[in-house]
């Protein structure tokens, strides 16, 4: 059954007719063509699809589009401003926190939620937080380094 969903995505109001079983990630990728949010599994394990819904990190494969009706949604495409990378994105680049790039959007979005809750995390806290994000390339070493560096910049450190 088609239903209407309206929400803010990356600061832009959208309103779309979708099939009721449409997942948030399908709305983003297929309807809105925001293909930066990825799908890496079908059991809510890998975290490649993490976006922010009303400021909290959410696995967009695990939420119906209609459940985000009226929400503020931010995806990886919504972070850089005017072509300038967000400090967390910058930190991933400077610290080689990504290789194939497939898990990266979810990692960055998840990291930002961590820093919002815990602006000065320790390495072990970062590792524990990333429980819901899988990466096959980096061994996480440089992802942890990136998140610590990104958090430091966001706190106003060097």
């Amino acid at each position: 059954m088609p239903v209407n969903v309206s929400m803010n995505v990356n600061g832009r109001a959208i309103s779309e007719e979708v099939e009721d079983r449409t997942l948030l990630v399908e709305l983003l990728r297929e309807t809105l063509r925001l293909t930066g949010t990825h799908v890496g599994c079908d059991t809510s394990q890998c975290g490649a699809c993490v976006v922010h819904v009303d400021g909290r990190s959410v696995k967009a494969c695990t939420m119906l589009a209609t459940q985000a009706h009226g929400a503020d949604v931010v995806t990886i495409e919504g972070l850089a401003e005017g072509g300038k990378l967000h400090p967390m994105q910058e930190a991933f680049r400077d610290n080689h926190g990504l290789q194939c790039g497939f898990c990266t959007p979810g990692m960055v979005m998840s990291a930002l939620d961590l820093v919002a809750r815990n602006p000065d995390p320790t390495g072990p806290e970062v590792r524990e937080w990333l429980e819901g994000n899988l990466c096959r390339c980096t061994g996480y070493h440089n992802i942890v380094k990136s998140i610590l560096a990104g958090a430091s910049t966001m706190r106003g450190g060097s």
């Binding site: 930066g36 079908d42 680049r93 290789q99 194939c100 497939f102 899988l134 096959r136 996480y140």
Partner: protein, 781 residues
């Protein structure tokens, strides 16, 4: 130049798009009039079947339902194995037909039976549920020993006894003689657990057909688009090579699993031709688990003969290697030529003999996975060395030192066909031990013990054969392809450069590393270099990326092309500067007349080449573009030592890796940051194998570990921070002196972890993955 040239940790060019969500992965593309495919897959490990597609074909949104019978009617070929291994008996391996869609028999859970094409992915999946498959189950065989037993169910009529091949390497008589002289013999039975590759991006393909031109296009997750084109054209015969355009855009990790020519990509391309519309398929993760080629899965018995001083006299290995239900694209060479040939390790072992039986079972096909044969070889060698050290009361590091091939012994002919080109094994070992503070381990063990914990330390002095290439060598061993690489350099009139490589980047950062190489070698700004890869209509024919070969083989091809560019530039400069060609010197991007202040920058030379208003055209062609093909003289041999230190909680069986040190010799390094990242990722893969990952089938052939809920991928809190360093003996036979780094960690890590755990537990009665339960059981027994 220094901040972007060879040796600089340049941040990656490709990161901008990946970090902003603007990467171009296969599933990100949607074509006009695109349809979607879903596959009907076997739920039985072994069965004959009949099909009724009537209901599915008339389901809402369905365009067509195609089966193996339709493939046969179109005379589409079967999947192939591209490497023919010859057994002890002189006979070629058994490669039974591997249908693109099963015809009347399925041989593993997940075997594809039919493709349903519909207007949406949901409609295709819904309709696939409506294809009625009537199975008549056949007896299935899951374990290799059962498959080889008398009276076992036969999986293929043309592979009697389920035996693919029985192969050997080395000198049996010399090895028997070595054992007869032995002071001590160490023995071990080892299982190298089956792994599921799990690149984070699932496989995906979009086939398209243009009825006006007759051209096919396949956009897919591939590590080697030209090999996909070659096999789909020459063997499976969907379209001739010049009418088939294959594109591998951004690819989210491969680790080997995206080398192969599978059922699904083939069916999608063929279906697109049938319906004249684009057909897209993207695996969901559950499909990846049953349909991506698995890795490893060996059972080995190994014996090492030593003299009274601990010198290695002989090594004897007998291995069973699981091929799964069909022989995948390069499956045959993995447990033979990529395995048996590495059993020399880093040591002067005087005699070696290895025999391998490759076995069919009713499981998903097994093929190359990060390291491919070399992790299995290192596991055998490094576990038995530690075992011998313990049994003889010799320190594990000291035993290795006594047996290392000395640094002045290269080139070193091994007893198993290869010739090592360079190395300094002791240097890497000693440095690794220094960083790991090996000397003080006893005190740390005591401190752990006081807290009720068991501490262990494990070494892995690994070696690999990389830069998989020399065509003459691999051809003589049964490879169906040459394994050179191509590289092209095109100067544009404005002086910037397009670099074409036949290798393919799916996480390795070639767009950065190759740009550094070209920028440094030709003296052009890094920002003026663009690397093009992954498109059969843009790059010269190339062999792709696997076996840690891209820089050693593909980078060297670029050097050949650049040397041609410089040679032509010298002619242009000589003409323009009115000097003799012999007097032109090239350095830092400038062609200068020796001993004068007259010079031309390479950008000026390029402009002149495209604006040849007064060229002597009978001597000098316009344009500045060259292609090089490089076929190396030998493999490269990266090697090093990894040290793993663990602490085990005997109450829970939990293992914590408390320290990891890697010292690797990759020869010269172009981008140290990228190289370190490759080591981190490889180690994580190997730690995953040792501690967490284990593909499990039940006795009936159902996959028990079919999702991330059941198959334990390494997560951030399973892994330690790592200390990674390099030593350098440059590769003597390629122009860059590079060896390759992509697989080292996955090769080294499992033995390091298991040597540490067995050291901590004081028992060998444990196999990978050393899960808490397995550790607890080993301690309890």
């Amino acid at each position: 130049m220094a901040e972007s040239g060879i040796g600089a940790s340049v941040p990656r060019t490709e990161d901008q798009r990946f970090l902003t969500g603007s990467g171009d992965y296969t599933d990100d593309t949607t074509f006009p009039h695109q349809t979607h495919a879903a596959f009907v897959r076997s739920t039985h490990p072994h069965a004959s079947f009949t099909l009724d597609t009537t209901a599915a074909a008339s389901a809402p949104g369905v365009v067509t339902v195609l089966t193996g019978a339709d493939l046969a009617a179109d005379e589409i070929g079967t999947l192939i194995c591209g490497w023919q291994v010859t057994g002890k008996d002189g006979e070629p391996h058994k490669a039974p037909p591997h249908p693109v869609l099963a015809v009347d028999t399925v041989r593993h859970v997940g075997d594809a039976i039919a493709i349903v094409v519909a207007e949406s992915a949901r409609a295709a999946r819904d309709a696939a549920e409506q294809v009625e498959v009537s199975y008549a189950p056949l007896p299935a065989v899951v374990s290799m020993r059962d498959a080889l037993a008398d009276g076992a169910p036969q999986i293929h009529s043309d592979a009697p006894g389920n035996l693919c091949y029985d192969w050997e390497i080395g000198d049996r008589a010399a090895t028997d003689d070595a054992f007869a002289r032995a002071h001590h013999v160490a023995r071990l039975d080892l299982v190298n657990n089956r792994l599921i590759p799990n690149a984070m991006e699932p496989r995906s393909a979009i086939g398209d057909f243009n009825p006006a031109s007759g051209d096919y296009t396949l956009r897919l997750t591939s590590q080697n688009p030209h090999i996909h084109r070659l096999v789909l054209a020459a063997f499976i015969q969907i379209a001739p090579e010049h009418k088939l355009h294959v594109i591998a855009p951004d690819v989210g990790g491969g680790f080997g699993s995206k080398i192969f020519i599978y059922q699904e990509e083939t069916a999608v391309l063929w279906a697109a031709g049938k319906i004249g519309r684009p057909v897209k398929w993207t695996a969901d993760r559950s499909e990846s688990f049953v349909a991506d080629a698995h890795g490893r899965d060996h059972e080995s018995h190994v014996e090492l003969a030593l003299d009274a001083d601990g010198r290695f006299l002989g090594l004897k290995v007998s291995t069973l290697a699981n091929m799964g239900a069909y022989l995948s694209t390069f499956a045959s060479c993995v447990p033979s030529y990529l395995y048996g040939t590495l059993l020399q390790g880093q040591y002067t072992t005087e005699a070696i003999y290895c025999e391998v039986k490759a076995v069919f079972t009713n499981t998903t096909p097994v093929d190359a996975l990060r390291g491919a044969g070399r992790p299995e070889a290192t596991y055998v060698v490094e576990r038995i060395v530690d075992q011998a050290a313990r049994e003889m009361g010799i320190d594990a590091a000291e035993l290795r030192r006594r047996n290392f091939i000395p640094a002045d012994a290269f080139p070193y002919p091994t007893k198993v066909a290869l010739e090592y080109d360079s190395g300094n094994y002791r240097l890497a070992l000693d440095r690794a031990l220094e960083i790991a503070d090996y000397g003080d381990f006893a005190a740390r063990r005591e401190a752990s013990s006081a807290r009720g914990r068991l501490r262990g330390i494990g070494l892995s002095a690994y070696i690999e054969a990389c830069g998989i290439a020399p065509s003459q060598v691999v051809g003589s061993l049964g490879a169906g392809v040459g394994l050179w690489e191509s590289g092209g350099i095109r100067f544009n009139p404005t002086g910037n450069v397009l670099v074409y490589t036949g290798s393919h980047s799916h996480g390795q950062g070639h767009e950065t590393t190759f740009a550094q190489l070209v920028s440094d070698y030709l003296g052009v700004p890094f920002e003026s270099v663009e690397v093009v890869h992954g498109d059969t209509e843009k790059t010269p024919f190339g062999m792709g990326t696997y076996g840690s070969r891209s820089l050693a083989v593909g980078g060297s091809a670029l050097v050949k092309a650049m040397d041609k560019i410089i040679a032509k530039g010298r002619k242009i400069a000589a003409f323009t500067l009115e000097a003799s060609e012999e007097d032109i010197e090239f350095s830092g991007g400038d062609f200068a007349v020796a001993g004068t202040d007259r010079s031309m920058n390479i950008a000026e030379v390029a402009f002149s080449a495209y604006v040849p208003h007064n060229y002597p055209l009978d001597e000098l062609e316009p344009g500045l573009e060259e292609t090089g093909f490089y076929d190396p003289a030998n493999f490269t041999f990266p090697a090093g030592t990894h040290v793993c230190e663990v602490e085990v909680d005997p109450e829970t069986g939990t293992t914590e890796i408390v320290n990891w040190v890697a010292v690797d010799d990759f020869g010269n390094v172009v981008n140290p940051m990228i190289v370190e990242g490759q080591v981190h990722g490889g180690v994580a893969h190997g730690v995953g194998q040792a501690l967490l990952e284990g593909c499990a089938y039940d006795a009936d052939g159902q996959l028990l570990t079919g999702s991330f809920m059941d198959y334990t991928m390494p997560r951030a809190d399973d892994l330690p921070d790592m200390t990674v360093e390099t030593t350098c003996t440059p590769c003597p036979h390629n122009p860059l002196g590079v060896k390759g780094c992509g697989e080292a960690g996955a090769i080294a890590a499992p033995a390091a972890v298991m040597n540490a755990i067995t050291d901590a537990l004081g028992t060998n009665a444990i196999d990978m993955p050393a899960t808490p339960q397995a550790v607890w059981r080993a301690l309890s027994e």
